[in-house]
């Protein structure tokens, strides 16, 4: 792609790229790495001292509220806000025409504005915003804004979106009506593959919509600063992308916008792109000259959504006599909601990420995303691939059953080699899937249970693979994907600066461990400053499971530069060769004589005296990866994680009630930098997956209802997430395959371990009662009905 073209597509920052140094596993680590240490921010959070966005107040701060559309699809004819503006306590009002520049996290599909300009596209679309002295006044003022709508026919299903629009398309001017993105890719000889198959499973599956539901609602504060600069404090997981889009939409220079992400109360992908409130507080702060805060209600969190796309999937899987996968073919329709979000990527991921952990030579997918008049879908933990993984793993069980094969055996037989290139060109350099299967098989007692439990009880297995970061940032550029600066001061402390977002997954802790490991100081002597665009080098954000791999490597890179200086200084002072010294536990020590040692604080001072003020930056960029075809880079990652789930279920044959007493999750994370944090990610992912199968449902009233497009229950009561009394027991089994390019061999652990939870439970239900439920969620009512039908 030419630089000119890249620039046109939104990438303004082209510089000459440079291959990133890769440290990989050359130093095994072990003083700190791999140990179950406490988190860097644990006590801060346990004592209530950690500040989240809504905990921050400024003098003279105003409160903003956004007026939202009551209609799913309508033209805005006029907005009259004079009465609202005249209210006592109202300072300013804004409408969409004030910020008409469209935005999207993906620069190719900018189809959203801060507030609607000409039409609304879902119930909850923002129409106007008020800044007032307090929230109650802002809410009251919103009620007094008069919007004149011309209702249009809402399009609420994939089927409706396929028809030519009755009134008009959701995005007028879109060439393909309500179709947003179409991808059709095929690899190898599918016809031959199915010809060689003796057992073919071919079925329709449906994955419903689910949402992230972080316990912290979105919140943002805009704060004017001297010299026409703006500071935006926001509960975001992508400060850098937010800074870029704010600058574009506000028409400001990027260097005049500072984005700070304070402690974040959960995200799971639900805060990984700009949201209307961030533009609203920025613009209103600029207009009023005062700080402005906006906090979503829980209802607004449900409507802002960007969660899991509902997908209608047709899957065909063929096995030969020996149970080897010969061909896989899928056709997937995605219900995208009103806007693009990451949808272009989702459409690819729905196919691209399915080519492991199994080895097969022919594969094809057709994936189509549609616009509908519902809240926009986007990336939720396991972006794009959780839904087809459910279908694929169920179909694999069905095909194996055709041969009378144990589901565990068929997965073992098809496991791809440790080092491989997948049929769609993905480079795999480490793969512990077979070990995952074996660990879960043993821990769960699979061999004594599968096919042998009494009717109503069953066990099921499923596998999956996921990316550790993506090869390309969302806007094309050749600068590092992650940068880290480490500064040492003569007090003996290290300061780490990095743009990476700790969203609870523990990235700040990861930096602490790496610096302590590399420089031999106590973890308590490492201070982290992260996710502040003014203070920290760019990291692209907490998405695609990229931070440990990329920022971890960048941090090692920075530390190694300093380590060299520290070792030299210690060597000179101790009269030893640097090679014979270790930095560990707060000292530089001779490997063969621990009496020869120097405290690290002294080493810092000597090195500073020798070299001047000590600081170093490190960075990470992926090598060139991906298949040689259009879209071949989407889904290519420097490393892939692997997961296997085994689930046990217990079904009440009278009522259909489903209980999941226990789930085993074996996950190949390459190397567990801290096993407690890795297990926490595995358990949290499995929990979320189980909940999606059993109870969660982000759904809306249909077209023939009195309020089409209205959310069925936008609250944490009506949208149930499991409480402590409902949660299954989890057993996490860590598998370490040591990736050659990962930091100390590490890969991701935050998203992969969600995928196979869902098909493992679905397969266990089949083992328990012999029914194959292909439509999620799997409720007691559905099981009961299916049980009646099979009688």
């Amino acid at each position: 792609m030419s630089d000119k073209k890249k620039r046109d597509q939104g990438g303004a920052d082209i510089v000459k790229g440079k291959a990133s140094p890769i440290h990989g596993v050359d130093l095994p680590g072990g003083d700190v790495i791999g140990r179950p240490l406490r988190k860097a921010d644990g006590l801060d959070k346990a004592t209530g001292l950690a500040l989240y966005t809504d905990d921050i107040q400024f003098p003279d701060m105003l409160h903003a509220k956004i007026l939202r559309s009551p209609l799913p699809h309508a033209r805005i004819k006029s907005i009259d806000y004079s009465e609202a503006l005249a209210m006592d306590g109202v300072v300013d009002v804004m409408v969409g025409s004030e910020l008409p520049i469209p935005y999207c996290v993906i620069p190719w599909t900018r189809d959203e504005t801060a507030l609607c300009t000409d039409k609304v596209r879902f119930i909850g679309d923002g129409v106007a915003a008020v800044a007032a002295v307090d929230e109650a006044t802002a809410i009251e003022a919103c009620k007094r804004i008069k919007v004149d709508y011309e209702a249009l026919k809402p399009i609420l299903t994939i089927e409706a979106a396929k028809q030519p629009p009755e009134d008009e398309a959701i995005h007028v001017g879109n060439r393909r009506g309500n179709q947003h993105k179409y991808v059709d890719l095929s690899f190898g000889d599918l016809d031959a593959g199915f010809r060689h198959s003796t057992s073919i499973a071919h079925d329709d599956y449906y994955f419903h919509g689910t949402t992230h539901a972080p316990i912290e609602p979105h919140c943002a504060i805009g704060k004017p600063e001297p010299g026409g600069q703006l500071c935006i404090i926001s509960a975001t997981q992508v400060p850098h992308y937010l800074q870029r889009e704010l600058a574009r939409v506000l028409g400001m220079a990027q260097q005049n916008i500072r984005v700070i992400q304070p402690a974040l109360g959960g995200a799971f992908g639900g805060k990984s792109e700009p949201f209307d409130l961030e533009f609203v507080v920025a613009h209103l702060a600029r207009k009023t000259g005062r700080p402005v805060k906006c906090l979503y209600t829980r209802e607004e969190v449900f409507y802002s959504h960007r969660g899991r796309h509902p997908m209608a999937m047709n899957f065909k899987v063929g096995l030969d006599d020996e149970g080897k996968i010969q061909a896989v073919r899928s056709k997937i329709d995605l219900d995208g909601g009103a806007y693009s979000s990451f949808g272009l990527v989702t459409t690819y991921y729905a196919g691209q990420l399915l080519t492991g952990p199994y080895d097969f030579a022919s594969y094809g997918f057709t994936s189509t995303r549609y616009y509908t008049n519902k809240p926009c879908c986007g990336p939720k933990r396991g972006h794009g691939s959780v839904q087809p993984r459910f279908a694929f793993e169920c179909a694999l069980d069905e095909a194996a059953a055709g041969l009378g094969l144990d589901p565990m055996t068929v997965r073992e037989r098809n496991t791809m080699p440790r080092v491989a290139t997948t049929v769609n060109g993905m480079r795999v350099q480490s793969n512990g899937f077979l070990a995952c299967l074996q660990a879960a098989r043993k821990a769960s007692g699979w061999d004594e249970k599968w096919g042998k439990l009494p009717r109503g009880r069953g066990i099921g297995v499923a596998g999956s693979m996921y990316i550790s970061g993506t090869n390309y940032p969302v806007y094309p550029n050749e600068m590092p994907q992650s940068g880290v600066t480490v500064q040492l001061d003569r007090s003996g402390r290290a300061l780490v600066l990095c743009g990476a977002s700790d969203i609870g997954q523990g990235s700040d802790s990861m930096f602490t461990y790496i610096v302590a490991e590399e420089l031999g100081i106590e973890p308590g002597h490492v201070r982290i400053v992260s996710s502040d665009t003014d203070l920290t080098p760019v990291d692209l954000g907490a998405y695609s499971s990229r931070i440990t791999f990329m920022a971890g490597n960048a941090c090692i890179d920075a530390c190694r530069r300093l380590r060299k200086l520290l070792l030299e200084a210690a060597a000179t002072a101790l009269g030893q060769s640097a090679k014979r010294l270790r930095l560990a536990g707060g000292y530089a020590v001779a490997v063969d004589d621990t009496a020869v040692s120097l405290p690290m604080q002294e080493v810092f001072r000597l090195a500073e005296a020798e070299n001047g003020t000590l600081s170093a930056s490190g960075w990470y960029n992926t090598p060139l990866l991906g298949g040689e075809y259009r879209g071949g880079t989407i889904g290519s990652s420097p490393a892939y994680s692997f997961t296997c789930h085994v689930a046990e279920v217990d079904i009440d044959l009278e009522t259909g009630e489903l209980r999941v007493p226990k789930v085993w999750v074996a996950h190949d994370c390459g190397r567990a930098l801290n096993p407690v944090i890795v297990e926490g990610q595995m358990e949290g992912s499995t929990y979320m997956g189980a909940a999606e199968l059993m109870m969660e449902d982000q759904d809306f009233y249909p077209a023939d209802h009195a309020a089409p497009g209205l959310h069925l229950g936008p609250s944490l009561l009506d949208y149930p997430i499991p409480t402590s009394s409902e949660v299954p027991e989890f057993e996490a089994l860590i598998i370490e395959s040591l990736d050659p390019e990962g930091p100390y061999g590490a890969k991701e652990a935050g998203e992969g371990p969600l995928h196979s939870t869902i098909p493992a439970i679905a397969n266990a239900i089949h083992d328990a009662v012999g029914i194959r439920l292909k439509t999620l969620p799997i409720t007691a009512a559905k099981i009961w009905r299916a049980l009646q039908e099979t009688h």
Binding site: R38, G42, L43, A46, I215, L264, G265, S724
Partner: protein, 176 residues
């Protein structure tokens, strides 16, 4: 809108605050008194992030009108730790790796502390039940259960290493 001056006993100290009739305890704690450790996750009684202890019992501060709490003993997460450091439950949550984003934790920890006050050796069922009003979206609860058992002394400490600054290493006075 009727207003009154209220005496609230919070974390052992009497605070006088002007409140309107419809102000919730959560609003007064967070926005009037700056005790932002109590979180708001839903503002309608569904999530438990706002849990505080009123006379030792867990109460959802978002559902409790401030003026109803006159003369009661209110304990927030800020009052749980003291000069001697974090409360045993807070320390156990940290040690067990029970928090990810931490947003549910103040409420969760207070519910757990209240449980251990009334039942120092709860069984698993009692722990699950006592925390069932506090939603956690991150952890799957596994490690939270562990933390409560550790705080109660039912389960051994996994020997986490404390990341708080260790005593500074000795410094050579000859150094600049």
């Amino acid at each position: 809108m009727a207003e009154s001056v209220l005496k609230l006993k919070i974390n052992g100290f009497v605070r006088r605050v002007a409140v309107s009739d419809q102000e919730t305890l959560l609003e007064v704690l967070r926005y009037t008194l700056g005790l932002t450790g109590s979180k708001q996750g839903c503002d309608k009684g569904d999530c438990g992030a706002c849990t505080v202890l009123v006379d030792g019992e867990p109460v959802l501060a978002c559902l409790s009108l401030a003026k109803r709490n006159a003369d009661k003993e209110i304990l927030t997460i800020e009052g749980l730790s003291g000069p001697e450091g974090p409360h045993a439950v807070q320390d156990a949550f940290d040690n067990a790796g029970a928090m990810q984003c931490g947003f549910c934790q103040p409420g969760m920890i207070l519910s757990a502390a209240a449980l251990l006050e009334r039942d120092p050796e709860p069984d698993d069922e009692a722990i699950r039940h006592a925390l069932s009003g506090n939603l956690c979206r991150c952890t799957g609860y596994t490690r939270i259960f562990t933390a409560v058992r550790q705080a109660a002394g039912i389960e051994a400490d996994r020997k986490g290493v404390d990341p708080r600054p260790a005593p500074a290493p000795p410094v050579d006075p000859k150094l600049p």
